[in-house]
Amino acid sequence: MNAIDNTPADRNVIFFTPKSAGGTGCRLTRGIALLVLLLMLVCAGRASAVEIEIWDYPRWLEPGETIDRFAWMKKQIRAFEAENPGIRVRLTELTWNRGDEKLKIAALGGRFPDIAPGTVPLLFIREGLIEPMDAYLEPGDREDYLPGALDAYTVDGKLYGWPWYMGGQLLFVNRSTFASAGVDLPPNGRWTPETFVEKLTRVKAWQQGRDGQFPLGIYFQKNETANFPFILQFGGTWPGMEAAGGAEAVDITSGIEWLRGLIDRGLIPADSGGRQSNDIWTAFARERRIAAGAFGLWGIKALTDKYPMDFELMHFPAPAGRPSGSFLGISGLYLFHRDDPVRMKAAVKFARYITGAARQRDLVRYTQFPTRRSAGNIYAGNRHMTRAWEILQEGRTVPTDARWPQMDEEIEQAVQNALLGRVSAPTAVREAGHRISALMDRHQGSVTGDIRSGSLFGKAFLWLFPIVLAAALCARQAHLLMLLPAVTVLGLFLVYPLLDAFLLAFRDYRLGEVGGFTLGNFRRVFSDTKFVQACWNTGLYTLVVVSVNTATALIAASLIHALSGRLKSIYRALYYLPGVASVVVISMVWRWLFNTEVGLFNTVLRAVGLPAVGWLTNPDVAFVSVLLTGILRSPGGAILIYLAALGNIPKSLYEAADLEGASPLQRWWHITVPLLKQTTMFLLITGAIDGMQVFAQVLMLTDGGPGSATEVIVHRVYTAAFRDFDFGLSSAMALLLFAGILTVTLLQRRFGGQTEMELA
């Protein structure tokens, strides 16, 4: 961080005083000496110890801690370092949801730790980044692991990690609500779909008349498998993977239709397709509006400490004789390959230490199950955990395939759309099946290979660039020299990547790392339903938000212009003020206002007896909400530009109108507005260019959901690149956006260019 602090200042010195070479040289030497000294210090520190790096997610709160969810890990690191004086461990703290995405981007970008947490890292294994652990197992290790634990980390016969704990997602039921409704729970925790529906119906009858109350809440969103047992209860396999599973896709259709039946009977919210786990958890645990829901094992702890509730864990409903099929997951630590065997060994030692039986006993605070027998039964006497263990014996896991995240997204979206009634269940499943099959056919090449190989253009550019620089230097032209920094920055970080973007867009992954040229990416762009939806939404956003903002700016500016003195400057400043807050900040506030369960809007609606609105969860409303946030953002910049233009209108024009007895409104409409036409044109076009690049609001408010209801182009470009790692598709979409923006920009040159020059 120090280096970053210093450099610009140093450069200042270099560039500002080329003639007083003595002073500059002196400072430079001093700077270099300092740097060397620092380097030596760092190296000296390093030489005595191996340093390894672990990235970890937040875990449980140790007793006495209020906020630091890394305290346990830090304690273990201290203990480990004390036992192993030659090893130093550095901890990097990840965050929950986006942590996984971040880890992927960083690792594929070549910035990976020694040890990372999570389920089996199939993507990284495919990329050859993960070190197999078989050679490091000690005698007795294999026997000590519970059945399935090692299997979860075994790919093609090799073990790729250290299993740490087992978790799962279970059906939680609020016992007091069921008891108040006079509905008893099956004592063995099992129910068939028929009894399940029958009991929910009786709870519903008791809840009648209380707005927003439901016997059950469900959610389907990316990376959330919790509610899949409902759609898999009649058997079947994932769409598009029939070849692997052999069963008919019709079966999951019947599960979705069963859920639709629950909506029709009012047993689950009508907008269930758009709900998120956070909503349902809040409604279940905090608001108690929902009497049952599927959550992770962490819910047991939260319902004991944070929101104390009399609850019961149940099997998911399943026809008699079928397993209830909760989803379970084995989590652990895996190690990235390093060429340094000493470092590798140190990392293995630490991973073993953290996932060893002694440390696994601490999982009791995490409400997760140990994976080693020698940890013993840490939950003896805990009713809920004992029940959870029973239920998870019938559990299942997601398919072991590196492409599961993308498959999952397709499936979740199919279920969402079917539940929202946008398409019929069979159609949704069939379409998802097609897309998943297409997905399985693609992506044979290696992503990291692509990253490392670079591009033709890039290489040419990087060779050519130094030559041009050298030529400029040789020319001994002061002005060329002064252009150098800016041209270097723009060349390296704008022109070169732009050329690369063209290459990526026309490259084919099926041909592997070298990559042939193809138009296939563009064909895929247009068959990407999410992108098509994104184009519509982006167009609508641009049209609505830009025209409304320009109109309000015109009106506000006209009104402010009529004021005088202090009042004028105060209003002008206040209208501009919200513009300095970032979109991220504003979107966070909107998300809080829009929150379905506890947000201000729905709290007010409920208070006056109106039904709550699914601002961000109902797909018909969600995009309107996004538009609303755009419209209600003060167009401060536009107001100022209008004010400047208004100041340039000669008063004499109005005097003539006054003589003719025109009303203020008439004068405004017939004189002011037409005279501002140029400015209006300019604002519309620059606004459109900005509007087409809308991103942050969508990412923060809805992440493109529910379904793909609020997808916009840049968000799709982002997800295709950094969630699916489909670089060709992402670049093709980005180029199309570029073409659109270019068109509008050229329109500006044609119609609005003059104003820009005038203003500048």
């Binding site: 942590g99 070549g110 990253i451 920094p485 800016a486 991220v584 990412l699 820009e756």
Partner: protein, 273 residues
């Protein structure tokens, strides 16, 4: 809607303007209300308001993470502002004063590159920087922003209006090009540089997409990226989130108040679209 300046503003005008303000400032006001409400009261169902406390801010700073994010934001914004002002000014100077072949062609290319939206180069730039091992370091955010076509264009427009006699006189006295830049053009361009400096700083402080892509561990996050990940936590603690949002918006509001004259005049002269 009247242009007669001496007339007292009509009540209707003030009412409409104030209503507009209520709509646009409303969310920010709600942010403040939530941030300063006792978290225990927010946990009620429905949330209760009216019991004020600083507890959310205590929790916010208790984690210590937000201070690191703030420092990262400060470092990147300051480095980019300083670097961009210098590089833009140097380039603008050579475009304005320099007499070399290909000057207008080069300037045209710089102008044209204004049209390239950041999202196009996002992915190739990410791949490029990761080949250099710069991902997850603040350099990845700083380096690509050290010069900007729009800034070069703005400053050149301004420098074009500086009388040529000044540089000619300086040359007579034996001044080199760097001296002319340093002693004449740079100081004389201070108004435009100050304005664009403030805008660059604000824009960088609020920058989101590129830092989101390149900064991947908590230690390197800037404030907006850090806040966005806070929002992703499993249990939604809105009091804490709003405290974070308030804290992130505060410096910008202060800068705005301190420099509002500069900013508003800058906008008027079209310093930023």
């Amino acid at each position: 809607m009247t242009t007669t300046r001496r007339a007292a503003p009509s009540l209707a005008t003030l009412a409409v303007l104030s209503a507009g303000l209520a709509l646009t400032l409303g969310p920010l006001a709600w942010m403040l209300v939530t941030a300063f409400t006792d978290p225990a009261a927010l946990e009620q169902s429905p949330p209760r308001y009216g019991s004020w406390s600083l507890e959310n801010f205590r929790l916010l700073f208790g984690g210590g993470r937000i201070l690191g994010w703030t420092l990262n934001s400060l470092v990147t914004s300051a480095a980019i502002t300083a670097g961009q002002l210098l590089f833009n000014a140097l380039a603008a100077f050579s475009f304005s004063v320099g007499r070399f072949r290909g000057r207008e062609a080069l300037f045209w290319i710089v102008l044209a590159s204004m049209m390239v939206p950041g999202q196009i180069v996002m992915l190739p730039l990410f791949l490029f920087l990761s080949r250099w091992g710069l991902i997850d370091s603040l350099w990845a955010v700083i380096l690509p922003s050290l010069a900007a076509p729009f800034g070069i264009y703005m400053v050149r427009q301004y420098m074009d209006s500086i009388p040529r006699q000044l540089q000619e006189a300086a040359r007579m006295d034996g001044a080199g090009e760097f001296d002319i830049f340093r002693h004449i053009y740079f100081p004389l361009s201070m108004p435009i540089l100050a304005t664009s400096g403030i805008f660059i700083f604000i824009a960088q402080w609020n920058a989101f997409l590129w830092p989101l892509v390149t900064l991947n561990t908590e230690a390197s996050y800037t404030l907006p990226v850090g806040l966005a990940t806070m929002q992703d936590q499993q249990i939604m603690d809105y009091g804490l989130l709003m405290a974070g949002a308030t804290f992130a918006a505060l410096p910008m509001v202060l800068i705005f108040m301190a420099f509002s004259r500069h900013l508003l005049e800058g906008m008027r002269s079209g310093a930023v679209q």
